[in-house]
Symmetry: C2
Subunit: 563 residues, 2 copies
């Protein structure tokens, strides 16, 4: 089957040029450039006046953060020109281990997008994390023969790398032995510590938040992934990396993006558009998002329009605004006039599906589940800080006689992290200040990185109701007021992803955020977002896990009561 | 073992910058940049005011063309800053097959240079070639597990690629399956034929002789190797590839370089120096010769000065003139003040050594060996053309009654290609016009690509003597006059490489060329060089192989006598 795209303006990413040329496609490949006739092909499309560029590559994304099933994620991102993603299934792996990764691989087997994976390096994320699974270097290695696995996922445990933890280094070394790469994750690391981290064999980073940080990392050999997601938005700070020579060592990534954000603003196309609006070169943006990402990941047959390359192509009406009209994936038209054509997906096999679908193992909760037996002394309380994932520790006297320690008038709420993978009965209990809820409770199974059930509320009855609501959905978000569930969003795939369409998921997400606003939230606080990181004991200062409070700076469990 | 290079001006090839920085080396690796103290290392070298750049990489070289043993080649190239070569052992493979390649690998096992190999793709070069060995895709594949094999050597058989010869494509496809690359070789190919060639999976070329040719190949995805060797010198024509954005897709190579040229002018350093003398950027030249070559060949740990990279470093007194003072290979000082330190080499194992050392199997020649039984009609005579490897066919009446067809007064000499690998007795006989010899004979075992014994002379006795002289040396070059050997140069390793030092080989090479001049050579003709290509039936028009005359354009054997 031969398709001829006639009279295009082709973006040549090798030489940053726009060339007038036809493109002859045979099956999934580009086989010719230059001038061809209608007789040379079975089908011809006249694209006079239009631009053609290679399909975009997202070099680092957690599909789970979109809350969409992998298939739906593909459906949403395709019209934005993304034909390849390198996904890190870190979240689902913390819930369902190798079966979770297996699910992601299977679910994307037949989709019209090249979905590659990095094997998560840090499952569980820390010693205080009670995750649903563990990945040792043995399990990691078992994936390295799969054609869509490209290496080891972001190595967040940088102290482990710097201080040469044997287990951490063995994961990196095995990856190297397979000729693969290890993704970096080392926010703010610099100087000799950065040297030690890189020297272990980690040659990219997506956590740069200043241009100085990026420059140092580039000088030392790292590729920089310019990240623009829903929460972490580094484009403004890193905008000058779009200039030469920096743009030669960069690519574009989203990391984490919510469904409404994907629908409204787009994906990699949005980053190029934003940069263009600040006067930066669209051609450089396209090169970063195509050829360079492909080079970094060793994907030799994608990322450019040239003979022998896979025909992943975008037809653009307009270059400056990156207006994508049609998308070809492996030579087939998969997006036409901005609409994704329906596609068949693969039925996921039983072992994988069961592991992600039945990921909640937890007895029903009662108000008593959240009781704290009072002891002598004041309490350590977690203070959330507007617009930050950092927390502070406050030592406060609490009133256990009348209200089990809760004091809504002072914004002191109860918080719980309930182990939900194997019904161990472990529950971490504590108090949180600064959330702004005035009544009711909220609960969520999206709580990094172990994704246990996290619940915060103004009274224990509503907390139990919210928690049970999430439990009964097999994962999700819930908002409760006065014994009534006022909003709920199901995330039955691993407690992280929904089964509905992106539009429906975006609508539900909007609705539940409005419901939270009704029961109250403080200025600069996004209750579900802040809650999702209260259980991650790598961000200072005080966090809560299923084992109780963790002093992150000391990396040790600390008691609730201070005598 | 830790070495500290203190206060260098480091060439940063990621960002085309010169940075003031120390370099901390541990064993074979760079482990730190920035500022260190004497106590951080076991040894310290103050390099204040000096420049440090990554060791150079020659992306395409036939070591055999230097006429030096691999060990001696390393000894000569090291002080010129070459710490890595990607060698194509095409010549020795045509003589000794897998044992020849094995010899090259073994001989370079312990040398202080990273010597990588591409497996020759075209052994024998054509169907008319009676080479000493054959490499099928089975043999080729057998090398792909070796850590110093990077892919398939230059695919000269471009008609085979374009017309989808099954055998040719299977070699390329197997290479791809191993994640490796195939080197290109397609002089002047353009348009749809070039597309077909590239689409098979061939993404580099070192045969460009014009900037237009290079631009088309780059637009279509090929990396361009800018070649500057002894015979083929493309730098002048391609000098503008040193500019942006072209320099981003280029590397520097020598292909074929003679010993005197290496000694006098250098290696990759010479190319950068020449370009600088034409006003081009030294930093761009260094980047092409380091990081980019490494990227193309998938060598992730060399080509830059960064944490985790192998410590292959050059200390330069002067950047503009690329004056190399010291060379570090894998963290060890191997060249000091321009002098290569002595190094131990590996004793090559018996099977490999015998195959290359005893490569001559041929009974002694006599004057009768060169007799041509006269037939009716005129003869096809090969005309050599000054400064070209092309030949022309001339149909001439020859005098067989008095002089066996030879007529020195008309510059018509006898020529023979004698099969010398397995003493088959095959001998191709004919006549050559335009060489300019006035007496005696010359013989050589360097005759592309099969490296049979080629002999040309003014009488059959001297031809036999010259041929036997080469035979007795086990390969080499010889000049004979009036029954006397007036000069000889032994190339006992496969009939291609000598065992002497580079200085001695250069001296002998000079001496033998002077000896040829004594017996006569025409303007613009280098008798040994022209002779070396008279037996290669891929360059038009008329060539001679062990089977007889070949009409290259028709690709068929033709008789000597035309009735």
């Amino acid at each position: 089957m031969r398709t001829l795209l006639k009279n295009g303006n082709i973006i040549n990413v090798f030489l940053d040029q726009i060339m007038e040329s036809d493109i002859l496609i045979e099956d999934d490949r580009i086989i010719g450039l230059g001038s061809y006739n209608e007789e040379d092909a079975d089908e011809m499309e006249d694209i006079t006046g239009k631009y053609v560029c290679p399909g975009f590559i997202d070099g680092h994304v957690h599909i789970e953060s979109s809350m969409l099933s992998p298939e739906e994620f593909v459906r949403v991102c395709l019209p934005h020109g993304t034909t390849t993603v390198i996904a890190d299934p870190h979240e689902i792996a913390n819930v369902a281990g190798i079966n979770g990764i297996g699910y992601m691989i299977e679910a994307t087997e037949h989709v019209p997008m090249g979905v590659y994976f990095m094997v998560p390096s840090c499952v569980p994320a820390t010693q205080f994390d009670e995750s649903g699974a563990v990945l040792t270097s043995y399990e990691i290695q078992s994936f390295f023969h799969h054609p869509r696995i490209l290496g080891l996922g972001e190595m967040m445990n940088y102290p482990g790398v710097i201080f040469k933890d044997e287990d951490v280094l063995s994961k990196i070394d095995i990856t190297k032995k397979y000729g693969m790469i290890t993704n970096g994750h080392a926010p703010m690391l610099s100087g000799h510590d950065l040297d030690r981290y890189i020297a272990a064999g980690i040659y990219d980073d997506h956590e740069c938040s200043t241009i100085e940080e990026a420059r140092e990392k580039m000088q030392k050999g790292q590729w920089i992934m310019i990240r623009q997601g829903t929460a972490a938005r580094n484009l403004d700070a890193l905008i000058d990396l779009f200039d030469e020579p920096y743009n030669r060592r960069c690519m574009l990534v989203t990391d984490d993006k919510h469904p409404a954000d994907l629908l409204q603003h787009g994906h990699i196309d949005n980053i190029i558009r934003l940069a263009a609006s600040k006067g930066k070169s669209v051609l450089a943006g396209i090169r970063m998002a195509t050829l360079q990402a492909a080079q970094h990941f060793g994907l030799k047959e994608i990322g450019a329009i040239a003979p022998g390359y896979v025909a992943n192509l975008l037809i653009l009406d307009d270059l400056v605004n990156v207006q994508i009209r049609d998308v070809y994936y492996k030579g087939k038209l998969v997006v036409e006039n901005g609409m994704t054509h329906p596609f068949q997906t693969k039925k996921v096999r039983g072992d994988f599906w069961k592991a992600v679908r039945n990921s909640f193992y937890l007895k029903a909760l009662t108000a008593e589940s959240f009781h704290i037996k009072p002891e002598e002394g004041d309490c350590r309380v977690i203070r959330v800080i507007p617009k930050q994932l950092l927390t502070k520790e406050e030592i406060l006297p609490l009133n256990f006689i009348e209200s089990n320690g809760i004091d809504v008038s002072k914004d002191i709420l109860k918080i719980a992290v309930v182990e939900r993978h194997m019904d161990s009965g472990h529950i971490g209990l504590g108090f949180i200040i600064g959330m702004g809820l005035r009544e009711g409770a909220i609960a969520s199974s999206v709580s990094h990185d172990s994704h246990n059930l996290i619940v915060a509320g103004c009274n224990e009855e509503d907390m139990a109701l919210a928690g049970n609501c999430v439990r009964e959905m097999g994962g999700g978000l819930a908002v409760v007021r006065n014994g009534q569930i006022i909003s709920a969003m199901a995330l039955p795939i691993g407690g992280l992803m929904g089964k509905k369409s992106a539009a429906e998921m975006a609508r539900q997400n909007q609705e539940i955020r409005e419901a939270v606003a009704e029961i109250g939230s403080a200025e600069g606080i996004d209750p579900f977002m802040n809650l999702a990181f209260v259980s991650l004991p790598v961000i200072p200062d005080l966090k809560l896990t299923t084992f109780g409070l963790v002093d992150v700076n000391k990396q040790e469990l600390v008691p609730l009561f201070v005598k």
